[in-house]
Amino acid sequence: MNKALYGLKQAPRTWFSIIECYFQKEGFTRSSHDYALFINKREGKSILVCLYVDDLIYTGNDEDLCAKFKKSMNGEFEMTDLGKMRFFLGVEVSQNADGIQLCQKKYAKEVLDRFQMWNCIVVKNPIVPRTVLSKESEEAINTTLYQQLVGSLMYLTVTRPDIMYVVCLISRYMANPKAEHMQMAKRVLRYLKGTVNFSQLYRRKKCSKVLANIDSDNARDVVDTKSTPGYVFMLNDTTIC
């Protein structure tokens, strides 16, 4: 065989090298911070392309350049033009005059369905403040189910920084979960049920203000006395990482 087939172990890698070559040929530079981000700058006009296997999003300050890029891509590969970014990797995106809004309502509902939590009672916070977890608690539970649940919640953190802390916390017990961890995970679902419509909005604003908050909790873990660091970076009042 000369070319890859789906299912071959090296198929994703070979695809990436093909598209990387194409970007180089077109005069893009690979960002040194994320190798899947390609930038093309020319005479004050720029275009940014972000690649996620076979899905790519692109933006730039010049409409003509964007149109030219699309045409050139179409000549090289067989493409589906999805127009404005609306649905990317399970995240619903809406672009309007206020800015860009990200939301995982559909995914959140699927998660609630999957773990049969539609009839639960809503709670107002994802975690009880000052909860202390010990690793040496009782009752073992279905590990696979727990891992699936935490995995699903992890993906939800993409647009939900509010559950980031608790999801990171419960993900530490993936290897050997106990009943109390499951209870915590279920509390997140109960919180989620009341907040499925939450979304993240990146505002359109002319000034750019970066705000970084960093904190750490010394010897938080009662078992191995490890500390928990935390950080939030915000650009124009919206979390960016």
Binding site: L5, Q10, H33, Y58
Partner: protein, 258 residues
């Protein structure tokens, strides 16, 4: 169990209920140890065991429907049986369609059959739409000049291929298109022989967030593109041989590989 899809259950009440509106009793568990003697509605499967065994060879859904059908049509044994009536152990999880009208049964059949994608080539070739889908996939592989038919060199190992069938639904949940994808059984590959490096990177979410935040701030528009059959573009560095796909084997050259 997701209750987004129609759910079929409730074995105790001796009928199949298909409903999107299901309440799960989370607190309770099923009593698996319930003896068949204690079950209020022990199903009478008669003594017609041969019929059931015959249909056993068919696929799961088929077994469920056809075996109950058989029993429907078989006359009830009239003589009083002295034998203790028990449900066949493998049938305990199923329920009969008895008591449903013919229309309801038909609706049930359609639900079982229409949404199920074929599992293998033999199932798929019964339907023209899947044959068409497979032809499309072979054409796009040929157009890409993915392979040439060769004799397998003595030192090389070949990799099997199989068809995967998937019905794509559009946003309203209607059938959009039927997709047949030829995949290689990558799990039989050996490192160093027919593959080396496999790592492929994808964008980090941090990058996507910042990209969107900056875009929003500047008031640009983000567009999205999707590459069709992206992996078929990749060029192999290693020597890889695969079987000829089922249904598209060249006559007279059956022993050759791609």
């Amino acid at each position: 169990m997701r209750n987004q899809k129609p759910t079929t259950c409730i074995p105790v009440q001796k009928k199949i209920v298909i409903s999107r509106d299901v309440i799960f009793e989370e607190g309770q568990t099923w009593n698996w140890n319930l003896n068949s003697e204690e079950t209020p509605n022990v199903l009478d499967w008669g003594e017609d065991e041969t019929d059931i065994e015959e249909s056993d060879a068919e696929s799961d859904t088929m077994t469920m429907v056809s075996s109950t059908d058989n029993l429907e049509s078989s006359p009830e044994p009239e003589r009083q049986s002295r034998r203790e009536k028990r449900t066949l152990s493998w049938l305990q999880d199923y329920d009969s369609v008895e008591g449903l009208s013919e229309e309801e049964q038909e609706a049930g059949m359609i639900l079982f059959m229409s949404n199920v994608d074929p599992k293998n080539y033999v199932e798929a070739m019964k339907d023209a739409k899947w044959i068409e889908a497979m032809k499309n996939e072979i054409n796009s592989i040929k157009k890409n000049k993915t392979w040439e038919l060769v004799t397998l060199p003595a030192h090389a190992k070949k990799i099997g291929v199989k068809w995967i069938y998937k019905t794509k639904l559009n946003e309203e949940g209607k059938v959009d298109k039927c997709k047949a994808r030829l995949v290689a059984k990558g799990y039989t590959q050996t490192k160093g022989i027919n593959y080396n490096e496999v790592f492929a990177l994808v964008a980090r979410w941090d990058t996507i967030w910042i990209l969107l935040a900056v875009t929003a701030q500047e008031g640009w528009i983000v567009y999205q593109l999707d590459v069709k059959s992206a992996f078929l573009y990749g060029e192999l560095k290693e020597e890889v041989y695969v079987d000829q796909p089922e249904g598209f084997i060249k006559q007279g050259e059956e022993d050759k590989v791609y």
